[in-house]
Amino acid sequence: MSETLARLNEVFQDVFEDEELSVQAETSAKDIDDWDSLMHVNLILAVESAFDVRFTSTEVAGLKDAGELLALIEKKQA
């Protein structure tokens, strides 16, 4: 597990209040019942503050799974 994925996993566990959550690149809203539009924005803001990045609404709207979120974080941090 890469360092970014491990940190992202912590953010997911925090936001969804589930310590057993294990996020993979292909984890999507379908796999996490609580991941609805309300939680989506909480998740995005939590990721922004944890990684010190900022997403545009285009990026937020287009996100399909944790892998894309990961790729976006890595792109912004590069």
Partner: protein, 390 residues
Amino acid sequence: MNPTIDLTSPAFWLVALLAIALVTPITQAGLKRWVWAGVNILFIAWMLRLRTLEVASAVVVAHLALRLLACGSWRRAIGWAGLALALGLFVMRKLPGVTEDLGLGVVNPLLVAVGFSYVFLRLLDAGRVIYEGGRPPPDLASTVNYLLPFHMLAAGPIQSYEDFVDQPAIAKPLSAEGALGGVERIALGLFKKFVVAYLLGEAFLTGFHVGGAYFWFEVQVYYLWFYLDFSAYSDIAVGIGRLMGVHTPENFNRPYVARNMIDFWERWHISLSQWVRRNLFIPIQLGLARKAGGGGKRALLIATLAFTVSFLLCGLWHGISWPFFAWGAMHALGLVVTNTYRHWLTKRVGRKGVKAYKEKTGYRLVAQVLTFEYVALSLVIISYPWKDLL
């Protein structure tokens, strides 16, 4: 009479046949873009009998504005000016009286004919994505093809700009099966619109001029009629798109089985609800959440505000009038209630509880009937002959 897109017109089908014959066999991306743009301009010029020069000039202006949004220190100012201009044109499209008063009476029929309500949404979507650096701006041919695709002008779907850019420049060669699928889809659309919806309309619809029990019967039939007629346009567009190798998004997925209003908008006019999500709901929600210093406990309140503003604007997009405002408010209320209830239920019975609850057939049927009736009543608001009451 002002020209409009008419599916009974032989010219529409001639252009469709020409487009399929010309665009489908091309295997070179640049050539395909230009031939497809040529067909779209030809459609505007010939079928709509429009002032081609004016339309072409407007496309060039839009093209330059979209390119400028991607670069330069002026892009913010260009963005605001472009938005103001597009909004001004939108108001002229929706309120012909304003156009007359300004001495610009000729503009409204042009805007009506090119389906400016939809062009407006595509323009805003492209503008936002390009401004945010999500995708590069289009070349001139792609500007024509994105803003004025002839088969999507009448009633959508509204392709997202990202989807438009990301689609393969050359689709897979059309197989016999694919061609048959496309033709079947067009036939289905024609059957729905010109046979089923037509007969339903002739047999049962009175324009809500009959009261009592019949009124309630008509409410049910009207929703069915509306769905059949509207989704038929999408069937025809998707079918033509398939035959041309031009990606055309799906717009409906059995909306009458929706079990709540959020589910409904994931099934009805999907390309519009996705547009609202990308361009209104998410930006409003993100903006408010950032202002509040994180969503947290206020997430529900923020979502409520975002739903309300988004769907009031969505109502006004359909028509700048009180019935459409009320329609938007009714849908916003339905979405807010669904969202709040879902949130409350999850807190109360947990995720597993919600899942078990969702699987119960009885609950599902009640939810489906309630949603169906709620949507049906919202359609009455926009179609009821209110003037007769005055």
